[in-house]
């Protein structure tokens, strides 16, 4: 039984185009879809390709319905819902893979393309990186090309691709205008990205042995800084994170002290202005350079001198700060904080306590006590290593007198313990130390592997003074970075220990590109928008004004493109225009319409046979037109044509 072809029958030759669309829009989603779903999608698309190759009929409707119901149920079981982002995307991707199975008509194909455009948008829920952007541009081109193929008939793929690219290029001005001027809200429009609330690597809230050395293996970028002036030396770059003053014998955590005013910080050297772009870490601390003097509006200084954002940082954010590395802070520290900075567990680590008590008797000066501890670390063959032996109950004693090898948290923790036991208020500061200057774009990059822990002691008359006990054992840690400080052979992330110069250059370049993308594309937030607009003297524009400006610019762009297109169009000569107008007028008067391919004389005879009353006029006009357009150019033919065209009865003439 052969059915008559429907008027919008889908050509066999356009099927591979549509399958390519399905693959290119669905493929990136398989990265985060459950395996069984990815498998079904792959199998469905492969099957469809096979059916196309073998020219076999598509599966029956009931079978498809069954598959759709079963897989939808599967999605429900997997996600426990059919709504929301993840299950929604899963369903859409699934439909994208199944829809080709019932692709008989052009209408089905259009559904696939529209679904494709929508599905493309959902990729931004998961990734906004440059490769994703490039992939999506390619996919949009493919989808557009497929539309052209569907409605434009068979043409070589190169011609279609060029046409699609041309169309997209024409959309470019609108894209730019919309990007720059569309009123922005903070954060993505669709709500928070999935990974915002899940755990992100970053400094821990509590410090126990091993908690920082875990981070050292992570090469991910923590934040980037751009200094307004020249970057200070690496050895003063202490980026302040959580401060901990309560010790339970094993781990350090911030003591609960209630709300208190922040201490006075007085800069002694010149202040350093910088801009910090923080990767989301789900915590409030901003990792300001020690010690912060000026904070952005939406941040406050805590009583422990931390720069804290109002909300946990869940999106990549930019802050402008000012710090001084030479400062005096907390000269008049509150009693509560000082006593919290002396707290120790009731028992444990007796040998360390004895040692400290001895120092306390020997010296009255806290600085001398601190020097004593540093001297101890330096002289007693202490080893700086990422893989220290495990410690038991009296961890401080064990470290001090037995294992003698550890990482920065061991040294900081032991040092603070000793200080407190000797009656000097002390606490642990976690954060990052150092950074890497990227010569390509001038940003300093701080990675998770730069995580560090150091100590602060309080001295009457001088306030809080930073003491980095790690510097006593491994001075190169502070001067040259982690890779130089660790012994050869210890595992480190590849990123932190690169010796090959070209590889390092390549990495610098790639990071600079990524950073530009982050700063200018992803980080284009309301502030940046305002900043840009104020550069054009539109500083205090509200969203209404912005929308008006947007519409005006879009209109302008449209006008520009129209003018350009008209300019590009082969300019028809006067004779041709006159003839076309004449034919249109004739058609309005009930004569047959001229086909686009029809020559003047042929059209004249056709009109004359249908409307003999126009016969003379049209014959004469056609002859004049033929002469003017195709004849040997002579000046008289054009006026004759105008005259002939004017012979039409005047009633409906508009020109």
């Amino acid at each position: 039984m052969k059915k008559a072809r429907a008027p919008d029958h889908l050509e066999r030759a356009s099927v591979p185009w549509l399958l390519a669309c399905a693959v290119s829009t669905a493929a990136p989603h398989t990265e985060h879809l459950p395996l069984w779903l990815s498998a079904i999608i792959g199998v469905a698309l492969l099957l469809r390709t096979g059916l196309w190759l073998k020219n076999r009929p598509l599966p029956a409707r009931w079978l498809l319905a069954l598959v759709v119901v079963a897989t939808t149920a599967g999605v429900y079981i997997e996600y426990r819902t059919l709504f929301g982002r993840d299950s929604g995307v899963a369903l859409l991707t699934l439909f994208m893979a199944l829809k080709p199975m019932e692709m008989n008509r052009r209408r089905d194909a259009v559904v696939i393309i529209m679904l494709g455009f929508f599905l493309l948008l959902t990729h931004y829920f998961y990734s906004q990186s440059i490769p994703t952007g490039l992939w999506l541009i390619a996919s949009v081109t493919l989808l557009t090309a497929t539309l052209i193929r569907l409605f434009g008939g068979p043409q070589p793929p190169v011609v279609i691709a060029r046409h699609a690219a041309q169309l997209l290029l024409q959309a470019l001005p609108f894209m730019l205008v919309l990007f720059l001027l569309f009123p922005r809200v903070s954060g993505p429009l669709w709500g928070l990205p999935q990974d915002a609330h899940s755990s992100r690597s970053g400094l821990p809230e509590n410090i126990a042995p091993g908690s920082i050395s875990e981070l050292i293996l992570n090469g991910a970028i923590a934040f980037r800084i751009r200094f307004t002036g020249t970057p200070p030396a690496n050895s003063v770059l202490y980026w302040r994170g959580p401060v901990m003053d309560e010790f339970d014998g094993r781990a350090w955590k911030p003591a609960f002290l209630g709300r208190m005013a922040s201490p006075q910080i007085e800069a002694r050297g010149e202040s350093i202005a910088y801009e910090l772009t923080l990767e989301p870490h789900n915590q409030r601390w901003l990792l300001a350079l020690d010690a912060p003097l000026e904070l952005p509006q939406n941040a406050t200084l805590s009583m422990r001198m931390q720069a804290l954002a109002r909300e946990p940082v869940r999106l990549r954010s930019r802050f402008t700060l000012r710090s001084s590395t030479d400062y005096r802070a907390g000269l008049e520290e509150t009693q509560q904080i000082l006593s919290a900075s002396l707290q120790l567990p009731a028992k444990g680590n007796p040998r360390a306590r004895t040692l400290a008590a001895g120092w306390q008797q020997k010296h009255s000066n806290p600085q001398a006590i601190a020097a004593e501890a540093q001297l101890l670390f330096r002289q007693e063959n202490f080893v700086y290593t990422l893989n220290p032996p495990l410690l038991g109950e009296n961890s401080i004693d064990q470290f001090l007198f037995e294992t003698k090898s550890g990482f920065c948290e061991h040294y900081a923790s032991t040092f603070v313990f000793l200080m407190r036991a000797a009656g000097v208020p002390a606490r642990i500061v976690a954060g990052y130390q150092g950074g890497e200057f990227n010569p390509i774009d001038g940003y300093v990059v701080v990675r998770q592997s730069d995580a560090h822990a150091w100590a602060e002691i309080w001295i009457a008359g001088r306030g809080w003074v930073r003491v980095d006990p790690t510097a006593a054992i491994a001075p190169s840690r502070v001067e040259q970075g982690i890779a130089a400080a660790l012994p050869e052979g210890e595992t480190l992330p590849v990123m932190a220990r690169i010796d090959l110069d070209w590889l390092r250059q390549l990495r610098f370049r790639w990071e600079a590109i990524n950073n530009t993308w982050n700063q200018w594309v992803l980080g284009y937030n309301p502030d940046r928008q305002r900043e840009l607009l104020s550069r054009f003297g539109l500083g205090d524009i509200d969203w209404r004004g912005m929308t008006a400006l947007l519409s005006a610019l879009c209109g302008l762009a449209l006008l520009g493109i129209t003018v350009w297109t008209l300019w590009q169009r082969p300019r028809t000569d006067a004779a041709h225009r006159a003839w076309q107008r004449f034919c249109k007028q004739l058609a309005k008067r009930g004569a047959p319409r001229r086909e686009a391919w029809e020559g003047p004389l042929a059209y004249a005879s056709r009109v004359a046979s249908v409307r003999p009353d126009y016969g003379d006029i049209v014959h004469r006009a056609a002859r004049c037109y033929a002469k003017a357009r195709y004849g040997n150019a002579d000046g008289a033919s054009m006026p004759a044509l105008r005259e002939a065209v004017r012979q039409l009865p005047n009633r409906w003439r508009f020109f």
Binding site: P154, Q155, P156, P570, D573, H576, E595, A596, W597, E598, G599, P600, L601, A602, A626, K627, R629, Y630, G631, N632, A633
Partner: protein
Amino acid sequence: MSDSRTPLTEAIAAAGNIILGKERQIRLALACLLARGHLLIEDLPGVGKTTLAHTLAQLLGLHFSRIQFTSDLLPADIVGASIYDREQSTFRFLPGPIFSQLVLADEINRATPKTQSALLEAMEERQVTAEGETRPLPDPFFVIATQNPSHQIGTFALPESQLDRFLMRIDLGYPDRNAERALLAGGNTRERLATLQAILGPAQLKPLQASSAAIHAAPALIDYVQLLVEETRRDPRFVHGLSPRAALALLSAARAWAFIDGRDMVLPEDVQAVFGSVAAHRLRLAQGSGHANPEDLATIIQRTPLP
């Protein structure tokens, strides 16, 4: 100018009296001759292919010869051969039937490729090389070849490159009812043919060919020819599009058509009128065997708007 064309109109009218109801084909054949091209007529036996060739030769006063192609025909049978003249004791070249102003090559696809190519070379070069000596062919030199549809038994299909040497291919088709009735009722065609008077001579034909070639083709028209040719190259139904040579052929055939029509410039209508005859035998279909038919070319015309 209209004076010089009068004999053409007369010739068309006179030929119309012999070959009934085929004015379009007569015009096309004449246009082909004016454009200095050769003509291929493809149709079933008995529809008047030979009569058309004969009539044209008669009316134009051309020296006419006919070669019946058979499978055992040799190149020498066409070109001629040297024979020994006993009286003068030398070899004397005896020109073959190709040394005529109008040659009718009947059923050309019955001959072997070797013989076919002897004729086709002569058509292209307008000269013949026999026994080391090159001899020019008469001027005008016009070949009308006929061939039976290639699916008939015992035929050698002409290769592409040789088909290209025919400016046009036309088919005659069955006459319509009235024409056939007139044919049946009328007297013996052969007798009437014999009584035909020449309207032109070779001497008049040459200036006519020259003025046909001088017909004006405006830039807009050349644009149109280019668009048509490009459209055939884009069309997936054909293996290849039209060659530049085919584009030239299309333009000169359109010029001749415009000339016969009494105009001094080529119009798109002229191009459209000859397009089917000039292009169809040069476009091989991608699917199946054989060449494009008039409907394929009509869609090309209808897809190409006038610039």
